[in-house]
Amino acid sequence: MESNGWEVLQLQKKAQQIRRDILEMVYRRQSGHLGGSFSIVEILVALYYKTMRIDPANPKWEGRDRFILSKGHCAPALYAVLADVGYFPKAYLTESFRCVNGKLQGHPDLKKTPGIDMSSGSLGIGLSVACGMAFGGRIKGQDFRVFVVIGDGETNEGQIWEAAKTAAHYKLDKITAFIDLNGLQNDGPTAREMSMAPMAAKWRSFNWNVIEIDGHDFPQILAAVDKAKQSTGQPTAILCRTVKGKGVSFMENQIKFHGTPPNEEEYQKALGELS
């Protein structure tokens, strides 16, 4: 799919708006993960606006493409996108996020939130679930695709690699995994805390179709997704170079904004940068 300049501009505007929504949500509630939410905005916007076969009016439609946010702590990004494409009212974002009796849990909950295909929050599980969904489609003769977003810290989990071998062995080519290489995990830089280098070689050696891109560049994301669709017999890993906290200068690459909400001054400044 060739993306033209005008379309890319629209997507970029959308991404900017989603970042504002995320900021609003986390600031108002004074709880939630900004950094890792900002690093996946372009990926989610590309998927939900350009790629995935979905019907927000019919979230349980059997033929829909599936999405799993394996790094579930970045739910704010997903909620902002789901609200924007119409799965639920936008008011939920600020009224319900992380609140008692709320529809928007701290981590994605498929029973409470329309549009969530799988609950998550405990890292490491999502790729196995993606395999199960892909098996399900294969067994039932359905052609839906399964997209999953995994954190770079999250790839420390052994289960990610258990699932990687299952997907490759069974040639689950309907699976596309985005690996969010933002270079930071909870305690600090991935290179210092737990290096997974060489990441691309790891996925290749597990017999995956590997594509490396700039995870904030829409044309690159859309081209990669197209290539993934053409892959037969191999699942695809799209390794996305990203920036944690992307879009707000003083949040970029700052471990502080992994899980600490912004104070009022930071919020105002961030809002200024995102307007």
Binding site: R29, S31, G32, G72, F97, R98, C99, V100, N101, G102, L104, Q105, G106, H107, D109, S119, S120, G121, S122, L123, G124, G153, E154, N156, E157, G158, Q185, N186, D187, G188, E193, M194, I255, G259
Partner: protein, 320 residues
């Protein structure tokens, strides 16, 4: 006054690190969240982060223990216990290795992160494991005492802490004896047996009950295993009814432990203040305690019910 569990953990590990040269901390990318970065800086050679891989943490801890070191595997209860439970069973409990698993974030007190991060069944799981000693600290000072007791004890120990701050129960250094509960308040009308941050609430409930002339005995059951049978049986005999209080599912935790004992040795009415058989959700801890029935007034109501059951039993006996 409230003090933080995690600050207590941070400080205890620092000072116990001096005292115990064999102490090694293993953690899965949660040093910042557990505030054990200071330990890392002070004893870099005795700090191992395995990244986000909890099963690995348990295996590494087991291996360390076989070399004579004393590993403390530290994480949120969900990721210290529930994620790598089978590894704990077969690589620590079964070979009876000297590993200490220390977990913050026990219960729905976790709050906004929601159900995926609220370990509400960890005590049931850990109690079920042979060889394990299971401890729950009520407040900051007890955290330190329990950690020291865990290090002194030879064999696997699970120590559960809360997430944030807890109302202070102990104001002075205290001794922590594994297998011995703390009797915090005497009384002969009803016994409130609590653990963790719920102990402070049980004490508040006892104060409220005193206003209506009910003398409640309060026990801090900070050691779920081995259970202090003596103090419980004595309380059952002398008060004739009990309320167990915990931030945990009603299945298999403190309430389960107490009921298992009493049903065998001295049955009396027992009411449970605990979570029903369901998951928690996101929300401020106080809102969740209210919704899920873990407040002081819930304890009072349970005490009244337990006493009512006791007196109707006495009434029935007299009629017969």
């Amino acid at each position: 006054m409230k003090l933080s569990f995690r600050d207590a953990l941070k400080e205890s590990l620092l000072s116990l690190g001096q005292e115990y040269p064999a102490l090694v901390v293993v953690t899965p990318d949660l040093a910042k969240s557990l505030r054990i970065v200071d330990f890392k800086q002070t004893f870099p050679e005795r700090y191992i982060s395995v990244g986000v891989s909890e099963a690995d943490m348990i295996g590494v801890a087991a291996g360390l223990a076989t070399t004579g070191l004393i590993p403390v595997a530290a994480a949120f209860a969900m990721f210290a216990v529930e994620k790598p439970f089978e590894q704990i069973r077969n690589a620590i409990a079964y070979p009876n290795l000297n590993v200490k698993i220390v977990a913050t974030h026990g219960g729905i007190c976790v709050g906004p992160d929601g159900a995926t991060h609220q370990a509400i069944e960890d005590l049931a799981l850990m109690r079920a494991l042979p060889n394990f000693t299971v401890l729950v600290a009520a407040d900051a000072l007890e955290t330190r005492a329990a950690l020291k007791a865990a290090l002194e004890h030879k064999g696997p120990v699970y120590l559960r802490l809360g997430r944030d701050e807890a109302e202070v129960v102990y104001r002075e250094e205290k001794e922590f004896i594994i297998g011995k509960a703390d009797l915090l308040r005497s009384g002969n009308d009803v016994t409130l047996v609590a653990c963790g941050p719920m102990v402070a609430k049980a004490l508040q409930a006892a104060e409220e009950l005193e206003k209506v002339k009910v003398e409640a005995r309060v026990i801090n059951m900070h050691c779920l295993k081995p259970l202090d049978e003596e103090v419980l049986l004595q309380a059952a005999r002398e008060t004739g009814c009990m309320v167990t209080v915990e931030d945990h599912t009603r299945i298999g935790g403190l309430g389960g432990a107490v009921a298992e004992l009493l049903v065998r040795k001295h049955p009396v009415p027992v009411e449970q203040v605990a979570l029903d058989d369901q998951f928690g959700e996101s929300g401020d801890a106080e809102d969740l305690f209210q919704k899920y029935g873990l407040t002081v007034s819930h304890i009072i109501a349970a005490a009244e019910k337990a006493m009512l059951r006791k007196s109707s039993q006495i009434f029935m006996k007299e009629r017969r």
